[in-house]
Symmetry: C2
Subunit: 214 residues, 2 copies
Amino acid sequence: MKKDNKNTGARGKREKNKELRRLQLIRATIRSVARRGFAETTMADVTREAGLSLGLINLHFKSKDRLMEETLRHLSGEYESACFAAMASAGPTAADKLRALVELDFSPRVCDRRKLAVWFSFWGEARSRPTYQQICARNDRRYEKIVTDLCQEIIEVGGYAGIRAATVANGLSALVNGLWLDMLMTPDDMPPENARDISVFYLSHAFPNHFANP
Amino acid sequence: MKKDNKNTGARGKREKNKELRRLQLIRATIRSVARRGFAETTMADVTREAGLSLGLINLHFKSKDRLMEETLRHLSGEYESACFAAMASAGPTAADKLRALVELDFSPRVCDRRKLAVWFSFWGEARSRPTYQQICARNDRRYEKIVTDLCQEIIEVGGYAGIRAATVANGLSALVNGLWLDMLMTPDDMPPENARDISVFYLSHAFPNHFANP
DNA sequence: TGCAATTGAATGAATACTCATTCATTTATT
DNA sequence: AATAAATGAATGAGTATTCATTCAATTGCA
């Protein structure tokens, strides 16, 4: 899946460890960026945090830039999987799935201060790094698509008129991002439940028959 | 006004130039951060951009960190003044003023890609720099206060029930921040008018008698 | 008013330091 | 034994900061 293996599908210990190391370094990068910030994160910080040696980053990722890029991809993929998992284990209706996505966005696993800090660090740098921008944009568009489709279904099935799915969906995802920023900057003023309620409040106005005003 | 002058209130050429230089450097910093990103902005970049010599930053700001800090303060102050100006020249009702604030948020002067890039750069770094976090938090709280008061007035005068001013206000400011992020990351998918309409859409649901669904 | 004396803004070469990257060597796996 | 992974000292490119020097503006004095 990762690399063509001409022999059996079984991966040797070598190859398995290789992926383990990559993950170990990516996790260390997340911790370091969350603690020290993007601009201040050095290779020494990351490898020390991971308990590995200095040269390993260049061995596994070729350069610091690539490590950062892979870290962003990792976060992105992790979030996307969580979205699909949340929708799969939600109820059958579009409203159920949308509610599950909002729950997820403010659940401890996604809405962790360390990870939020990293997201905003990357967003801050994305403007000047085309690769980051590309990864983020692709991410955004996929998410937007999912939410728009759910909204469209609610509108059609629920008989809502004078309302565009894209508008509700864009608004919701912007709202969530903005609430994350609040939680990052002034966590005392914005606990997760509060943020969740504000999102549901938004949906309860857009789709009053499907979401109760919290 | 700025400094006690025992003689006449007139400022000499010296003092005037000093402030001019500071502003010149701050503006250059904004341009450089917007173009190159926070992490890649060097003192040489900034001074070259400003057409001044290398040593001037340390002369006027003592250090690079302080320059960044002052730049953030500058942006912060500029935005706040713009808010007050917009409210002052708006109609008399709270709804008029709230509408004016939303207009402002998506007007070219505030909603300029270069400035947005700088805001997100600072937000990205704020987590790991207490001073930035402080400046941003103070800023946020002031803005939140203004918007909450306006919402409170609309609720009271308009006779809205079952709705909390703080919820609407927190939601609105989060929404605006999130829309800014969209405009920064995928400007083609989110023109300012669209973002403005999404914000008004939000308000039209919260206060249906005061904001028309766009 | 004219003429030093003084101030402090501005410069940019030199300095000191940080940090990504390299690579010869060691350690582990097959 | 052969191959790959891991190490970390050494390297050198890049960068913030310092500071001796220059020079324009201001002040004090006649």
